[in-house]
Symmetry: C2
Subunit: 90 residues, 2 copies
C-alpha cells in the first residue's frame, strides 16, 4: 500500500476569499507583515498498488477525474510513500 499526497490549489488568477479572510484575521492579530494567504487542499490517498510508480499513475488519473476542478484549480502529487497504518483510517 502506498499513500500519495496530492495538493489541490486555486490557480493564481482565481480569487481566494478564504485566503483573504485568513489574511485579515492575521492582520487583526498583529501580524502586519503578512502580504498574502492562499488556501488549498491536501489530499492523502492510500491505494493498493504493486509499486510506487503504479500508485502515482493511478492517483494522477484520480486527480484529473475527480480531485481537482481543472477550470479553477491545479493539482500536483507531492510524494508517494509506503503507507503507514494510521493513514488509512477514514
Amino acid at each position: 500500500m502506498y499513500t500519495a499526497r496530492v495538493y489541490v490549489t486555486l490557480k493564481a488568477s482565481v480569487l481566494d476569499p478564504q485566503g483573504r479572510a485568513v489574511e485579515r484575521a492575521l492582520h487583526a492579530l498583529g501580524y502586519g507583515e503578512v502580504r498574502g494567504v492562499r488556501v488549498g487542499k491536501v489530499i492523502d490517498v492510500t491505494v493498493e498498488a504493486p509499486d510506487a510508480g503504479a500508485a502515482r499513475r493511478r492517483v494522477e488519473e484520480m486527480g484529473r477525474r475527480l480531485l481537482a476542478n481543472p477550470v479553477m484549480e491545479t493539482f500536483e502529487i507531492e510524494s508517494v510513500k509506503p503507507a503507514s497504518g494510521a493513514a488509512v483510517e477514514g
Copy 2:
C-alpha cells in the same frame, strides 16, 4: 518576502467525513484499490521578513494561534521559500 507552505491535517484519531466522501466517490468511479482518503488544508502564507528563519518562526506562531485547531488538527511547515509575485495575490 518569503512564502511558507503550511499543512493543516486532522489528527489520525479524528473522523474525516470529507475524506470518506471522496473515498466513496473514487470507489464509484471504479478505483476499487483506494483504501483511505484524508483531506486537509495547505496554506501558503507570504510575509515580509529579514530572512527565511525569521519568516518560519513567525508563521509557526501564526499556525499555533490561528491556522490550526489544536484539539483536532496538527500543522507543519513544509517549506519556506522566497516569494514569487504570483503567490501574493489574495
